[in-house]
Symmetry: C2
Subunit: 419 residues, 2 copies
């Protein structure tokens, strides 16, 4: 089963907007076993739209189009599709009522221009757009499917999840698929692949493994393909169990979980609080910790101690420690943890000190050297040194993720500690 994606809009071609829709759609189709052959971006131009659809029809079974469905004159996708499928318009009363409601919410009456959005080509099935005014359209012709959706990402995503994905699965009777993603941190892709090589080679033929590396972490996605969904799911999950035995130390979560979200859950369920004392990350860990609503129930505050004077005055860092070991050292990070725990009266504290670069490196402590620690008020601590890289922005970004990961493991009790 092959699909093509066509994104329509002048703003894509002059670089004003990056086409993120195609990657997202590609990923969703991939998850249900449909392969994207080509992505094409064109302008709001009648001939370009007609030609591109005609060419795509020759290569693919499914064409997904986004963009060009606004109410203004420059948006011509709907009229062009009507021309392509040689059909008249029908008036969709459900869409009409939805439009009236949206306008009521903003205290306005529906304009004629917007009312026209309820006129749809009579050959299409309406794909209801809960998040916006432009409905999606589903066409079928010679066994092939053409779908048109608005270009606004969250409107398109709603239509895809609610309507297009289930309809595609039903229409093409695609085989059962089950995915499980394992989130790892603290190990590179190549070393990971060495450790799990034997397990990977022994995977059943209908279970595939994908490595999805990002800065600071690697996702492993297992995808099982077959006929019986429940059997498939249990087979994939039993492979995950085998994998866990090999790399449990590196796994921090599954599927769409994120570090801030996991820490959020752990702290709320344990009724514990946290603070941070940050140097080179400049507050990045704190920014992650407040990402989700409700964070005030566990996050108290943070001190960004960028200068040594602030580290001493605010966190009680001893001048002897600074003189003997320097600001980027295990000893300094340990005192920063204690300083934060005391200052913010929290159950846990994360602290970081490192050399983000590009200046400030030495042969002993090159750019990218970062010490990260987590401690609790009982005096337990775990402090680790990391060597990240040469890029300032990435050093800051990755050090923050490592700090969150260390904190998560510490809170979960995954380290052997004295008390």
């Amino acid at each position: 089963m092959h699909a093509e994606i066509i994104t329509i809009g002048d703003e894509l071609l002059i670089g004003q907007v990056i086409d993120t829709n195609s990657a997202w759609i590609g990923e969703q189709l991939n998850l249900i076993g449909i392969k994207v052959k080509q992505i094409t971006s064109i302008s709001d131009d009648r001939l370009a739209i007609l030609n591109t659809i005609e060419e795509a029809q020759q290569r693919a079974d499914i064409i997904l189009i986004t963009g060009g469905l606004g109410p203004t004159k420059d948006d011509i996708t709907k009229t062009t599709l009507c021309e392509y499928f040689k059909c008249a318009y029908r008036f969709d009363e459900r869409v009409h009522q939805h439009l009236i409601k949206i306008f009521e919410r903003f205290g306005r009456t529906l304009s004629d221009l917007n009312k026209k959005q309820a006129e749809l080509p009579e050959l299409c099935k309406t794909l209801f757009n809960a998040n916006g005014t432009a409905p999606g359209m589903w066409f079928e012709k010679n066994g092939k499917v053409l779908v048109s959706m608005p270009g606004v990402p969250y409107e398109m995503k709603g239509i895809m999840m609610d309507e297009v994905i289930p309809k595609l699965q039903a229409h093409f009777n695609t085989q059962a698929i089950f995915h499980k993603t394992i989130l790892t941190m603290g190990i590179g892709e190549s070393y990971l692949s060495e450790i799990i090589a034997e397990w990977e080679d022994a995977l059943p033929i209908n279970i595939k493994l994908a490595y999805l590396p990002s800065p600071g972490y690697v996702r492993l996605r297992l995808s099982g393909f077959g006929n019986d969904f429940l059997e498939l799911k249990s087979k994939v999950l039993s492979e995950v169990e085998k994998l866990k035995l090999l790399i449990s130390n590196y796994i921090y979560g599954y599927d769409n979980e994120t570090l801030p979200q996991l820490i959020h859950q752990e702290l709320i369920s344990r009724k514990k609080s946290i603070s941070t004392a940050e140097s080179c990350t400049g507050g990045s860990i704190a920014v992650h910790l407040i990402a989700l609503s409700g964070s005030s129930s566990f996050f108290k505050g943070s001190i960004v101690a960028y200068s040594n004077e602030v580290k001493q005055k605010e966190l009680g860092l001893k001048s002897e420690t600074l003189e003997s070991f320097g600001a980027v050292s295990q000893e300094t990070v340990s005192e920063m943890i204690k300083g934060a725990l005391k200052k913010f009266e929290t159950d846990y504290a994360i602290s970081v000190s490192g050399i983000a670069g590009p200046e400030g490196g030495t042969s002993e402590k090159p750019v990218g050297t970062v010490w990260i620690g987590v401690g609790d008020k009982q005096g337990n601590e775990i402090i680790k040194q990391y060597k990240i890289g040469n890029n300032r922005e990435r050093n800051i970004q990755i050090a923050a993720l490592y700090g969150l990961n260390l904190a998560l493991k510490f809170i979960r009790g995954e380290f052997n500690l004295k008390s």
Copy 2:
């Protein structure tokens, strides 16, 4: 002059990587007056590459290709181009020496696989890749140009700026173009367009205006097209002068300048220091302030005071203030400024308190209400209230930008203050 962009790579079609190259290339070509007609993403597949190039050749004068130039077997762009142009290989000694140097830097000797990257189709001119191992290639055929570049963004960007853009301008003898971008904040696109409508209508026919809105700010780009570059430049700049008279209050910078960079420059040239006291932004302003190397010379530290206890204990916020006005108030933000100035002993301090949402809003202080202030150690202060929006992530992000903008104007002395 029409161009097409072809991006090659399986990772683009399964959604593992978002194609950011095309938007960037589209923007650069647009700046030199070349219009992109189509962007096509395909997999590393010989037939797909050959067909896509053939089709693009029929529509466009220029084809820019990225991706598929790695040394491994799955990268087949170079061999496929050799096949397309029906030519043999030549060995490029300059590229060879460059490869040897890159490998030396990592203490390795050049492998045979990588040495092959110095073999190029004899019909192409080499486009030197200073940032990586895969050189770019420039082909000409029947007056048309085809360029192949690596897919790694910073390698592609280096080749585009150093080689492709100047070569395209020379080859197609494009007309002179001059752009000037004016960066504004604190005013929406539609209100801006009302204020400048008369000026905009009176622009010379060869000077175009583009509105480029982003969350929190709007860029205005003036582009002049003509024959004489110097005359053009002076015409565009004189229009900018007229524009400044209308919206000087909202302009914070020009072209590629950023708020963190501008604050960085102002503080370093004035030998002044800064700190922050942040509540709802959770340290986001501090993270902006450390984005550039050298920030330790002016940035001392930050306190993220997420709970009221921390605001009181660490910033000296009076309980009367909290009781009478609440945490999200002008009075609280004023005390937070004074607390930060004292704590970090800096010349300036920025402070923020607001309701990021989605919970915590009231009818009097709805979600998105944010108080932001800047002060100096002489006791001058400017404090403003903003109503941003409903989205937590955007509220945090935009509040941080507004804080930086307020600080920049304050440091530049753009407010009438008592002392």
